[in-house]
């Protein structure tokens, strides 16, 4: 597959995530759109890792492991995303308990 296709697919997914962050007011949906953007980046990292692997293969190195780093970065992004989600959802639950809403417009001063 040409790497171009993966770049454009990831860019489109990332921009959909940005539009979601800009157009929604529900804090949970905004959070989900951030996850969508993280996944777009992950997909592009994997595609680039396979691109480097193919380049190394074509250079004649049959036992190459070029591109492993990209896939491990994706793994670490998933680790950080899981930690981020647990803390972020705890903050949203606390906010709902205090102001009985998840509307981000009520949070523009970061206090109540």
């Amino acid at each position: 597959m040409p790497i171009n296709y993966y770049i454009f697919l990831s860019v489109a997914l990332f921009c959909i995530g940005i539009v979601g962050v800009l157009t929604r007011r529900n804090a949970i949906i905004i959070f989900m759109c951030i996850e969508l953007m993280l996944n777009a980046v992950n997909l592009l990292l994997v595609a680039f890792s396979k691109m480097h692997y193919k380049t190394a293969l074509l250079a004649g190195d049959a036992a190459t492991t070029a591109g492993t780093d990209g896939q491990l970065f994706v793994f670490f992004i998933m680790v950080v995303a899981a930690a981020e989600v647990s803390v972020g959802l705890a903050i949203i639950v606390m906010m709902y308990r205090n102001i009985h809403s998840v509307d981000v417009n009520f949070l523009n001063r970061l206090k109540h």
Binding site: N39, A82, V85, R97
Partner: protein, 166 residues
């Protein structure tokens, strides 16, 4: 058109359509379900690229754990279509135009780049298998791996402290 290409286009269309449904659904529960569909499509892309470990981890961690957490919180708060806050039409339009402009700029910048001749190896290659990734993770990347366990511990403590009542 080979089966790989057909699968690529199919998964791309599914991913983009369900991503659009995530941001256009009025009901937050439907948004979560469409996001799970997006994650499955992205996992399909990983399998197509022969990154089998990441495909499984993506399904288990994202579609399994994280999305269940989202669904649980949404159901806990009893959010539904009537209580869902909406921005007014001009703000929505401005957000869509801003995102569309970013898409336009990125596509225009990347359209004629030198990387266009490169190919991603689909349907082959062994770097995405657990054997290779595990060897690399526990030799070169063992310190970040151990640090991530501390990160998880602090995230767990943080979530409990924040979520505790008073």
């Amino acid at each position: 058109m080979s089966i790989t290409q057909i699968l690529f286009w199919f998964l791309s269309v599914v991913a983009l359509f369900s991503a659009l449904m995530v941001i256009t659904s009025k009901n937050p529960v439907y948004s979560v379900l469409w996001l799970i569909a997006t994650f499955f499509a992205i996992s399909g892309h990983y399998i197509l690229l022969n990154a089998q470990f990441l495909a499984i981890v993506n399904i288990i961690v994202y579609a399994g754990a994280i999305m269940v957490l989202f669904l649980f919180v949404i159901m806990l708060m009893n959010l539904n279509k009537e209580t869902e806050p909406q921005k007014n039409r001009w703000q929505k339009m401005a957000g869509a135009v801003a995102g569309g402009c970013l898409l336009l700029v990125l596509v225009a910048a990347l359209k004629d780049s030198d990387i266009k001749q490169q190919q991603a190896l689909v349907n082959g290659g062994s770097i995405g298998l657990i054997k290779n990734l595990g060897k690399e993770l526990f030799t070169t990347y063992v310190i970040p791996f151990e640090i991530s366990s501390v990160l998880f511990l602090s995230a767990m403590v943080g979530a409990v402290v924040i979520g505790k009542k008073e």
